[in-house]
């Protein structure tokens, strides 16, 4: 309500009091002014007509006097009307001040928000301070689907309402016809009471909408940045997990490699009259190849020696364990079986009974009597071994039975007998030797056993390579 009182108009800091004083003097009669309650504001009432001073139906006071009261009353009425006008203008300006300050504080508050929903809520809250509304919502446009979804809402009508879409209804039309660089959504204010909104309110809402659009874009950008950060953290965690797993695998491999290294004989037994050499090189840190040379100490064959090259299925720790198993089996059976084929049969049964179905070993076994150069040969599914005679002929030795541990027990193994004459050479190898490939994929083949690395060049080794070679020396009492 606009305050208006005669007391103010006649107040100490107002110029009207001296004017009325001089009017009263000029008229030669006293003038009295009272407020609405009859309290004296000027002069002393001394009779005469009592004239009302009112504004817009509100009694503000009285003027009385024997002469000139009408003129003073008119003057006061005029001043009251002028004062009312001035105050109405003042009120309007103060209202604008209020708006300016609200928009200022809105901008400041918005700048501190990075959460989209809170931006939308704050915008509606501030809009309600500036514009009368019973219902409101901020609907954001989803580009591909054209749907308008609520980011914040208030009132009885709008919250929970879905199905807004670009081009549909009032909000949808605004979304479809919106001006500016890019429409990101619609701000809705409504009143369930009949309400004539004015251009001023539209302008205000526009100001809020522009500011909130920027804040919403910022919030979205922030959200994306945060999400990208989370994704990076997730990947980092995965990386760390992988690193831990890799380190575990690495430990396992190094354990397997240690087990394996211990399985190879530290030193090959001395075999007078023979040159014996063996070497195994795994493709990776831990391979599946095995070789051994074990003197057979038995009553029947006091000088005999068992030579063997084997290839166990799989790689890594399981292969190392299977290899250890294979070695223990061979050594346990050695000297307890009459023949090499019997040894192979037992080893097969034992391995089959104590390992999983998919575990097996291929092996080339040679039992040599060094004194005579006579040897029995059993190949349990192993690749060909070779006899290279002194004259350079190459005689392949094929498989004489199935891999150890693969098929049901009780399999027979055949034996091939060999007579090594002085200068003859027996070559046992694993399939990494003939299968070794160069960059072009050409296989080394059996014929070129002596130059594996020259053939493979820089191509990575893809299978374990094991070679055991022994040659009967020509000089020991043998006819040439």
């Amino acid at each position: 309500m606009i305050r208006n009182s005669l007391k103010q108009i006649l107040g100490a800091q107002n110029g009207l009091r001296p004017v009325i004083e001089s009017l009263a003097q000029a008229m030669g009669a006293p003038i009295a002014v009272e407020d609405a309650a009859g309290g004296s504001l000027f002069g002393v009432a001394g009779g005469g007509e009592r004239l009302s001073v009112a504004h817009e139906g509100k009694q503000l006071g009285w003027v009385s006097g024997l002469a000139g009261a009408e003129a003073v009353a008119d003057l006061l009425r005029f001043m009251v009307a002028k004062e009312a006008e001035r105050k109405a203008l003042g009120t309007e300006v103060l209202h604008l001040y209020r708006e300016v300050n609200l928009i200022y504080s809105f901008s400041e508050k918005l700048a501190a928000l990075l959460d989209l929903e809170r931006v939308a809520q704050l915008t509606l809250q501030e809009a309600r301070h500036l514009i009368v509304a019973t219902d409101g919502a901020i609907l954001l446009l989803d580009e591909p689907s054209d749907a308008l979804t609520s980011a914040a809402a208030f009132g009885d009508e709008l919250p929970g309402v879905s199905g807004f879409a670009r081009g549909k209804g009032i909000a949808g039309t605004v979304a479809a016809t919106g001006v500016g660089e890019k429409v990101i959504g619609v701000i809705v204010l409504a009143s369930t009471q009949p309400m004539a909104y004015e251009a001023r309110e539209l302008k205000l809402l526009n100001t809020l909408a522009l500011q909130t659009a920027t804040a919403i874009e910022n919030a979205r950008l922030f959200e994306r940045t945060v999400q990208a950060g989370h994704e990076r953290e997730r990947l980092l965690a995965l990386n760390q997990e992988a690193e831990v797993a890799r380190a575990g695998y690495e430990r396992e491999l190094s354990l397997a490699a240690t087990i394996q290294a211990d399985l190879f004989p530290a030193q090959l037994p001395a075999l007078p009259g023979y040159d014996l050499a063996a070497r195994s090189r795994p493709a990776r840190r831990c391979g599946g190849d095995y070789y051994d040379a074990i003197p057979i100490v038995s009553a029947t064959d006091p000088d005999a020696v068992l030579l063997c090259v084997a290839d166990v299925s799989g790689k890594g720790l399981p292969a190392a364990l299977l290899m250890s198993h294979m070695q223990a089996t061979l050594r346990a059976l050695l000297g307890r079986t009459a023949s090499l084929q019997e040894l192979a049969g037992h080893a097969h049964d034992l391995l089959h009974g104590s390992t999983a179905d998919n575990k097996y070993v291929t092996a080339a076994l040679v039992k040599l009597d060094p004194a005579t150069g006579r040897a029995s040969y059993v190949s349990a599914g192993h690749i060909n071994s070779l006899v290279v005679t002194r004259s350079g002929d190459v005689v392949p030795l094929g498989s004489t039975g199935a891999p150890l541990g693969l098929l049901p027990p009780g399999l027979p193994y055949d034996t091939t007998m060999i007579d090594l004459r002085p200068g003859d050479c027996l070559v046992l190898c694993s399939d990494g030797v003939p299968d070794a490939q160069n960059e072009a994929g050409d296989e080394f083949g059996e014929a070129r056993l002596t130059a594996i690395d020259a053939c493979a060049g820089v191509a990575p080794q893809f299978d374990d390579i094991t070679l055991l070679v022994f040659r009967r020396l020509a000089s020991i009492g043998c006819p040439s």
Binding site: G90, V93, L96, Y97, N101, L102
Partner: protein, 125 residues
Amino acid sequence: MSLKILIVDDEVHLRTLLHQTLEDLEDEGVELHVATNGEEALAAIETLQPNLVFLDVMMPKLSGFDVCERAKKELGLSNVYIVLLTAKGQEFDRQRGVEVGADLYMTKPFDPDSLLMKARAVLGI
């Protein structure tokens, strides 16, 4: 003794708007006084010893800073609560405000609601 507020601004519109904002307090017995420049303000502060002064900073001759400093230091009226009014967007020398002993500063265009609230708080009504 009644509570007094002194409004100081060289611009008539601002004086009017400040007055209009604070008018409600007159019903509660608060006297509103107005000064239109620095000298007038200083004289009014000395004679009226108001409880609260809304003091424009940018005034010719005697600025709000000068008025505040003299009132607080020369006249020793440290119990007069002085609010400096400064234009929004205009750089305000806060340090100077502290030095001259101002109690608060507010920006113009002022928010009528917070201005009135502040006045009530200072006057304790």
